[in-house]
Symmetry: D2
Subunit: 363 residues, 4 copies
């Protein structure tokens, strides 16, 4: 199931050390202005090799649009996007070819398919997510036409919590530091901590928050494709994610009903909520408030400390030291992916609600 979405769909493909990776976006309305730069801009945010807290693999991740666009205008036909893999070095993986890397999908792919691509994790590599970001860039472009924004930022790394800041500050600050944290002070501590564990040959995780700003009310399909259910699938499908919560999340389970319910009042002749414990979704349908999602991300499983594992060929216990180029903290690079997934869900849900036309062109 490498296709995601109902009316607005992406199909992604590609292994980490294969020839290329790519994405086919189907169901994009005709008449959208779309250039390779639009995609590239988002890819650059996820691109490896450009910060001290990320992997040293240097991929320019240059995207080519191969179909679906004529003279920078979408045709309504599938948009195929291609990224060649350039800086591939499978050598370090050769040595551990038959060893199962703990925390990775090595064993499970092998259980599922009885074969696995040993080169850099193959399809289960985080590299796969670049194709999602490419598709998400189109989704974001559509959302922007409707005034909807998807903003991700880091709120915790290695247990270091950022202070809550308003949306405007998040947008202003998060790109000023390599961990995408809007609390500048906390971000410095986070970077320091990441470099420290990197030195140890270890890694750390963290928590990201995704805010969907200014969504239309009425999105989400009861009862099985509720907006939060759909977003959960999307978010949880990203590697390294282990938990997702909406609004007050786990905390709401400790509140009383009278505290948890968001009161409603009229404001500017519109029903308005006084608080947002619900995280913008009630009964699986968007209220029109900002949708707030928090996402737990595990530490990068590739660590150079010795770990217990097995040799799949010999069936013996062994010790593994994972070499190669890895992110000591994957949180900042996952954020564009989470944004992409949230944007895909939003466009698809808006289409199911009949809010997006098949063509932006007026005859």
């Amino acid at each position: 199931m490498n296709t995601f979405g109902r009316l607005f769909r992406m199909t992604t493909w590609g292994e980490s050390h294969g020839k290329a990776i790519g994405s086919v976006v189907d169901g994009c309305p005709a008449g959208l202005e779309l250039k390779e730069e639009d995609i590239q801009k988002e890819l650059n945010r996820r691109r490896p090799g450009f910060s001290e807290v990320s992997t040293k693999r240097k991929e320019k991740d240059e995207v080519q649009i191969l179909s679906g666009v004529l003279d920078d205008i979408t045709l309504g036909t599938p948009i195929s996007m291609l990224i060649w893999n350039r800086d591939v070095n499978s050598t370090p993986y050769g040595a551990i070819r038959h060893l199962v890397r703990p925390g990775h999908a090595d064993l499970t792919y092998w259980e599922k398919f009885k074969i696995r691509d040993w080169r850099g994790g193959g399809r289960s590599s985080a590299r796969e997510t670049a194709a999602r970001v490419a598709a998400g860039a189109i989704a974001k472009k559509i959302l922007r036409k409707f005034g909807v924004e998807v903003i991700g930022h880091t709120i915790e790394v290695a247990g270091i919590k950022a202070e809550e800041v308003p949306l405007e500050r998040i947008k202003e600050n998060r790109d000023k530091n390599p961990v995408l944290c809007a609390d500048i002070k906390a971000s410095a501590a986070m970077v320091e901590k990441i470099l420290e564990v990197k030195e140890e040959g270890d890694s750390v995780g963290g928590i990201a928050e995704i805010i969907i700003h200014n969504p239309p009310a009425g999105l989400g399909e009861p009862v099985f494709l509720k907006l939060d259910a759909y977003l959960s699938q999307a978010i949880m499908s990203v590697g390294a994610v282990k938990a997702v919560e909406f609004g007050a999340g786990f905390h709401i389970s400790r509140m009383k009903g009278s505290e948890a319910n968001d009161p409603i009042k009229m404001e500017n002749e519109r029903p308005t909520f006084v608080s947002n414990n619900a995280g913008g979704i009630l009964g699986g349908i968007s209220t029109g408030q900002d949708i707030v999602i928090r996402v737990a991300i595990k530490p990068t499983p590739s660590v150079s400390k010795p770990q217990r594992t097995i040799n799949i060929k010999t069936g013996e216990d062994e010790e593994i030291i994972v070499q190669g180029r890895h992110d000591p903290c994957i949180v900042p690079r996952i954020i564009p992916v989470l944004e992409a997934m949230a944007a895909m869900v939003m466009v698809d849900s808006m289409m199911m609600q009949g809010l997006i036309p098949r063509s932006f062109i007026d005859k």
Copy 2:
């Protein structure tokens, strides 16, 4: 989207105060022994009106199988199950017909459809979930043939945490108290707390844990229908759920890679994990270990304390007091629903993996 599943599917229908509710299960293998009692047993676990901590609405929830079964054997054709609504009393809802109940889906259904069933929440009522439990009973019966069990229990109510107990104890203890908590001591405190807030006209939430015991390895479809992604959608589609986590969940984001990774060793000639921080899923594919899911459930939004809201007809601010018969704590009644959803996902994933035949009959 009232259909759930790819190969093993349920379609549910029905409003809380309509004539009936029901479920159509499609894709069930032929040759499964199935009686109405099999379904009824599960429905009785979710049934309202039978404990001091649940609503007073008394529904016997008697299920009829209308198709797909001949002489107690499934035919491979759709299994239609019907439950008549009996103890319906819409009177208390008449008075608040135009008021939007905070914490409920009243406003959002109205935003989506420009109409809503004001009688007891209509389709957005928890009553809808009985149809899921009916379908889930079939899923569980199939899983049992393969030695797979789905066990839910309460681990926290109103901030009162249960102690961790081993699986055998959970199975032994959880049905001995109305909150389905395996820590008997904590369960007493939970019940006391629930009755206390009930007295105040308020409600509480809690946390449930779902354990999928003895699952096959290799389940889950990368990259978008990973097993945890699919389970998240399933779990989050249940009303009142606001968060979901797997294995160490949010806590894993504070661990180092070297701590978070579950070491692997050979045991009885099988690859075996030394710990289970991953919650039984790596790279979106089951490892064969128990799958551990924790679910945050909000307090019942129906509280009889006055709340601020609006009148949708007049567009004025008003105060609402929600009468009717409500659960002061929905956690124990949600657990069979969460189990049902997890069981549906497991059967469907096993079918996609080719582990379940189209017929259990040998020619």
Copy 3:
């Protein structure tokens, strides 16, 4: 796969001699006026037992709407419809329980599921199609709001061809005779022929034509869900159908390109086709012209003449004489089913094109 459709979906269930049959329609817009009479009217057109050329099984086919409608207005939630099986007589089938009826699905169901419902064909009975007609009645009601009509009629029975008549005459004449043929003279010959073969214990087939009048242009999803591809699946999924053609159909394969192409001209400031060899669909997308489909229907396989077959239990050759109550010609009773399927496709395709709102209510 007992669910049909993408955005407008029906899920049907039920065996011929089971307790009931039914249909769940999901995705119907809110705010549609809908009464049981709307459904009943269409069911009566397919109902058995009311003409000399149809089976003697007398089913009133009384439909109940169990959900999705409040005060005769749809809610946007699933509409569950139920028809109890009343006039069930499984006795004649007991005697041939282990014999495979030639021309029926007895052997194939048994190959697929290793079990089959021997009572009246079970799920493979034409009775299943009543549930489609119930769902189609809702589709037709929606289409009518947009001025789209689906009209089926008989154009050939047992080799007796009807003359071509204009659409207005079809609508005027077809219900005046039991074979639904608009050529009154031919219809008399058809009835005579049917009664003659019935006397012999045999059966005949024929050809139906379905006209979708006044469809919007632009429907159909290239490249795999083209409108004609989608309609073909829908039509061919009806039992007894063995061929389907659009516009000039098989005949067009003998024309030259210069003859086959429909010339285009402006008329009333709209692009207009001079002829309709294409049958209203070009490149899989509707042109706006009437869509013309012809459907070959095989003779009813239940004949009381002796036939060679096998006993599935003993594995011996045997002779079978199929008793029971059967239609000597199924064509007129299939027509409402074909109309229903075409109507389902049209509503679904209009929804995918964004032409039908989620609610017919203006806030």
Copy 4:
């Protein structure tokens, strides 16, 4: 909807005169030997420019496999295949950029998307089908492992009918002539006729027959994804197809039940059919006999004779003469496409029936 299939899926993309076309195959079992030559062989059968009865556009259609395969073995991950467009000449289309070509999808794409790719038909060009053939080559390779073959041949061109010949003769003869007709004498007359109309600047159509040899019994999903329904959608989704029939097809509508039913007897301890009027499918499920499909193909709409049409920009009536390089008869080049579609359906149906494992590798 540029994705086809449930468990075995292809997503195709690309415009006729865009940069490239391609196909992503998802759900292919792991452990299948697969080389680019396997794909190329099938593409060469559809390739333009290599016979006197086909277009002069010379495309080598060289395929590259970009993912899903390691050391010539499939990984179970998506297989992305790419074909660059090389011999593109859009010049002749520039002159008729605003003219609607009769018999083509020009007007309907424009109605649907309010924009169209004027260069060689864009997405609606027959070039799109190369991507289907690439995917179908994988499907065929899988089928071969199970002894299933898909064989297409021409049985009529421009009204010239081929004699019926047995399957062995079809396989022996059809590739000996450019029209893929197994009746050598008829094929000569067909070629002569095609060259004659080509001289006139006109085109002809014909009828293809697709035989699925040695299929397993029990395939097809009642009631809406019956095998014939699914095949019909697949076949009818190919451009230029206007009719499809199974077994005796339209002819069966003129038979009596006692003649149409295929008698059954035991042979070699297997239920065996004496004839095959059903075309290998009963009640939508395969019987195990050869599946026989006949397909009507319209004459190529691109003819250089003057035709009446309109200018979409000016809204005026105009005359059009379609230049460019076109097939005077598309039948032989469509046959590999029809085979590919039938093969896709067969693999998908076998997977749904549980007959194909997720991996061909034994651990």
